[in-house]
């Protein structure tokens, strides 16, 4: 079987470990640990890159420089920020529910990291190519909102509480358009498995087959990841910082980390479902994958720094009165289209 660069590398490391330890439980354990470390390394590296990208792109769009002092082109600014965050005082609000309040930032990272298990990074490079791939991503992504709610509730503070309420409303109304736009893709593929969805796009990307679903998916994903124009959960001008108002230092950094892990997951999901995944001519799959993901992240950032923030009622109306009917119409049109296609061929 032809395998990509990343899968060959994984096979090489597996072979190396097995030659040292034999085909035993120990070798398997070490491979699983390595895989987990790899996921965390990818997420942390991606967060550093994305924070830098965000600030530079923001600076470019707003006609200013952005961070350019620490290291060449300001590349080490994020590292400096991390050190600063670690050295900050840990402020715990007096009235907060200590147990829930302290647990939230840590738990928030679990769903954000878990979805990476089913993302195909390259040909054959997927940690768990399970039969329910996309559905698993949806199920895990929907867990994130619980942490926002609990964090906002446990802070015992009106702005956090309002932010938590908004988080629930926003994520519930974004998940349904996402699910229905993904459903159209699944209908065309006939499988929920991530590798099947990628290999179905060998000839034509689904963004050409399902343009409406693509647009709905992008808009709903902006809502799901709390990014402007839909960053109502942490709308600074209205509710300070929403659920994370009372968090500071490293606890706040964990929220930040999960936010950018979610952004990367959204970009990877977009690339996998609509832009052909790792597939592309000449270059190895992983290079194409990284290029596409960076382009999608750039588009997300472009949108963030170009559009003003919507109001919460505008967001809800957009989701329930525009995106949902359009997504339902798209499913019906896709069904008729598939029927006609089968009738012709």
């Amino acid at each position: 079987m032809h395998t990509g660069l990343l899968a060959s590398l994984a096979a090489f490391i597996t072979g190396l470990i097995e030659s040292l330890l034999g085909h035993g439980f120990a070798a398997q354990l070490i491979m699983v640990l390595l895989e987990i470390i790899a996921i965390f390394a990818v997420i942390s590296l991606a967060v550093i890159i994305q924070v830098y990208m965000e600030r530079r792109i923001c600076g470019f769009i707003q006609d200013r420089l952005g961070p350019n002092r620490v290291g060449p082109f300001g590349l080490l600014q994020t590292v400096a920020d991390m050190i600063k965050l670690m050295s900050k005082e840990d402020i715990v609000p007096e009235k907060a529910n200590r147990l829930l309040w302290g647990m939230t930032p840590m738990l928030l990272f679990i769903p954000a990291a878990l979805v990476y298990a089913v993302f195909p990074f390259d040909e054959g490079a997927i940690f768990a190519d399970i039969g329910i791939g996309v559905f698993f991503v949806m199920a895990i992504m929907s867990q994130g909102v619980l942490m926002f709610l609990i964090g906002g509730y446990a802070s015992e503070d009106k702005y956090s509480f309002m932010g938590a309420m908004r988080a629930v409303a926003q994520m519930l109304s974004s998940e349904i358009p996402i699910a229905f736009s993904i459903l159209a893709v699944v209908m065309v593929t006939g499988s929920l498995r991530m590798s099947d969805i990628v290999s179905a796009q060998t000839n034509v990307w689904f963004v050409c087959v399902q343009p409406l679903a693509f647009i709905i998916f992008i808009i709903a994903m902006l809502m799901e990841t709390n990014r402007t124009p839909f960053d109502l959960v942490e709308g600074e001008a209205e509710i300070i910082a929403g659920p994370f108002t009372e968090y500071s230092g490293m606890r706040w950094a964990l929220f930040f980390l999960a936010e950018y892990a979610n952004l990367l997951a959204a970009a990877i999901l977009t690339v996998t479902l609509f832009l052909g995944g790792w597939q592309g001519p000449f270059l190895p799959g992983i290079i194409w994958f990284i290029i596409k993901v960076l382009i999608v992240i750039f588009i997300f950032m472009w949108i963030r720094w170009t559009f003003p923030r919507t109001r919460i009622d505008q967001m809800m109306a957009l989701s329930w009165k525009v995106l949902l009917p359009l997504a339902l119409f798209n499913i019906m049109a896709t069904g008729i289209g598939i029927y006609i296609y089968k009738w012709i061929y």
Binding site: I130, I132, M138, Q143, L146, I150, L172
Partner: protein, 172 residues
């Protein structure tokens, strides 16, 4: 996924499930109860995953752990906005009725599981169609089509009813 259950994992998940179920009842703070409900639902999802029902496990996580718990917490917060201590107090009045009902339900379920011929025989979906998703799709949209559609219409009616009730009557 191998079919032989790992006993250690099974007993661990079952213990977590039962303990969190007890915690749901005995916690005096409704928010804690709701949170233990998530733990309970997630361990049920783990049990489903162990018997190769991966689709059902994902549904369990998405529908129950994901949505219902959020709604529960929302209800709590909207109805009682003072301190959440002592919001889940035992109701002595209904203990007898509740225990009779729970006992009946327990014996009914025990009867069904002991006499397994009562259950439908098409339970080995993987043997039928290769994987759980297409197997479930074949059964739900083929053999059990009518029941599936009736359930869908019923849920739609319930949803419309809830919207009408929440909107309030038009007093004119």
């Amino acid at each position: 996924m191998n079919n032989d259950l790992n006993p250690a994992l099974f007993y661990f998940l079952a213990a977590v499930m039962l303990l969190s179920a007890l915690a749901i009842v005995y916690c005096r703070n409704l928010v804690y109860s709701a949170l233990f409900m998530v733990v309970c639902f997630l361990s049920i999802a783990g049990l489903y995953a162990m018997i190769s029902a991966d689709f059902l496990a994902a549904v369990q996580i998405m529908v129950y752990a994901g949505t219902i718990v959020i709604l529960i917490v929302l209800c709590i917060m909207i109805t009682r906005r003072t301190t959440m201590e002592r919001t889940n107090m035992p109701e002595k009045k209904y203990i007898l009725r509740a225990s009779v009902l729970a006992g009946l339900l327990f014996f009914l379920l025990a009867y069904i599981f002991v006499n397994s011929e009562v259950l439908p025989t098409t339970n080995n979906i993987i043997a039928l169609s290769g994987d759980t998703v297409s197997g479930l799709a074949d059964l739900l949209l083929g053999h059990y089509m009518l029941a599936f559609e009736i359930a869908a219409v019923l849920l739609l009616a319930a949803m419309i009813g809830a919207v009408v009730l929440a909107k309030g009557a038009d007093e004119k």
